[in-house]
Amino acid sequence: MSLSTLLVLADGRLPAGAHAHSGGVEAAVAAGRIHDLPTLESFLVGRTSTSGTAAAAFAAASCRALTTRPVPHARSGDIEAAPLDRARLTALDNGARSAARVESLTDHRGALRDDSVRPAERITALDDGIDARTASPALRAASRAQGRALLRAVARIWPAAVNPAGPNPHHPIATGIAAAAAGLGPREAALTAVYGGLTGAASAAVRLLGLDPYTVHALIARLAPECDRVAADAAARADDPVDDLPAGSAILLDLDAERHATWEVRLFAS
């Protein structure tokens, strides 16, 4: 993996339309919920642990679908997400989803993966999975607009890119496609997604509120380890069934996005 290639993909100056999206900040500022550094910090932390974590997971899974998979091996016993694991175990002997759960566990324990799932089908299922996680039509449209913009850049920068997703995939899917095209792996795809979401929103807040850019960047630096953690977790789950991937819901982001889309004058597209 090339570190500088990761910087190319994660650079906020990559011409992929990010500057015109505030990640919900413009609406939250208008609603008075973000007005200073502490309120921005809460927003960024909450956003990262919900939609940021989901975006990371879907970027990692998309990238994995398009890159050679490593030989599966047992996950080490570092699983901390107690609720998820409880859920996993609870499901083993119960309900319609147990079959899928067993399959996903089996994967991690080293049984042969089901290679009949072709990359294109996996990508389609992942794109569907983001739709199922995005209640707001405005957010779905914003995600697809950013996916399209990123693919436009990818097609010019890495012309050999493989894209089974059509021209308007969700942004995390496009991020996975971009990472695979750039020779990066699922973890880097996830990192690009979660870090891009964080810095995009932070930078919008700087522009809208005139916050001190040094303190905002100090905040980004404080949250960087969280991005690493989210990305590592996303990569570890990159082969999970789509329904098992993170789905943290942020109702305020949905409602804000719907209101924002009705404004007559907007500075940001979303």
Binding site: A87, A96, R97, D131, A132, A135
Partner: protein, 253 residues
């Protein structure tokens, strides 16, 4: 405590609904509560013995609504998710299957995250093509001003085999930054079926979903009542907020 409840509703062949199974173990106690104004539906209240769920509980509710039947499930009061000593997580797993032409109204009262709780509620709903669903979830961060424990509602709803909604609502110490994303009280009301598609003029908190004939009504607020009001307003002009209502009389007078 492990406990299980099972509800099976079937069409009675005369345009009504018959409950063929109403089974529960404490604290999951289902009571038939009849449904006078709407003879086509069967109604069950979960009366829940003690306040709960408590740490260590492993609760399951399994619901089947056979083709053509209409089941309404409610709870009589808010659920208080509470910690145990020593601390242990609690889980509630709800599975529901709804057949073609069948309707499930799952309209419980909110779940309150009491300080120190560690509760996970997982719902998996499988709807056949042509099924109708109203599925409400509400959560409240603590009683009064107490800091909430961990409460997480994980929901998967499939329609004709396709996942139309997948979301986790989480509050508490593990859900970092939750208050900026959900507020102290939050809720959703999922509508699936023909009525989900119609909303003119557009209601801002009622969002059409991408993968099926469904809309999600979402709300946040300082307390449960605000949230409920917003969900009901989002559902205006549908029968969702008032399953007793008859077509042509959808708005409560």
């Amino acid at each position: 405590m492990r406990a299980e409840a099972r509800l099976v509703a079937e069409a009675d062949g005369r345009g009504g609904t018959r409950l063929s199974t109403v089974y529960g173990e404490p604290p999951l106690l289902p009571r038939r509560t009849g449904h006078h104004q709407n003879p086509t539906a069967a109604e069950v209240h979960l009366v829940g013995g003690a306040a709960g769920p408590l740490g260590g509980d492993d609760l399951r509710i399994d619901i089947t609504v056979a083709p053509g039947a209409h089941l309404v499930v409610r709870t009589i009061a808010a659920s208080l998710a509470q910690p145990s000593h020593p601390p242990a997580p609690s889980t509630l797993t709800i599975t529901a299957k709804v057949g073609t032409g069948a309707t499930l109204d799952w309209l419980p009262e909110p779940t309150v995250a009491v300080a120190g709780c560690d509760h996970l509620s997982r719902s998996i709903v499988d709807l056949a093509d042509g099924a109708t669903l109203r599925w409400r979830e509400e959560l409240v961060a603590g009683r009064h001003a107490e800091p909430p424990g961990d409460l997480r509602l994980e929901t998967t709803v499939r329609y004709a085999g396709r996942t139309i909604l997948r979301h986790d609502l989480a509050i508490g110490p593990r859900a970092k930054g939750w208050h900026a994303m959900l507020g102290r009280a939050a809720g959703t009301l999922l509508l699936v079926g023909p009525e989900a598609a119609t909303a003119e003029p557009k209601i801002i908190n009622r969002m059409p979903l991408a993968n099926g004939p469904a809309a999600l009504i979402s709300a946040t607020g300082p307390d449960a009542r605000t949230v409920r009001t917003a969900l009901d307003e989002g559902a205006a002009n549908t029968r969702a907020h008032d399953p007793d209502a008859k077509p042509g009389n959808w708005r409560k007078g």
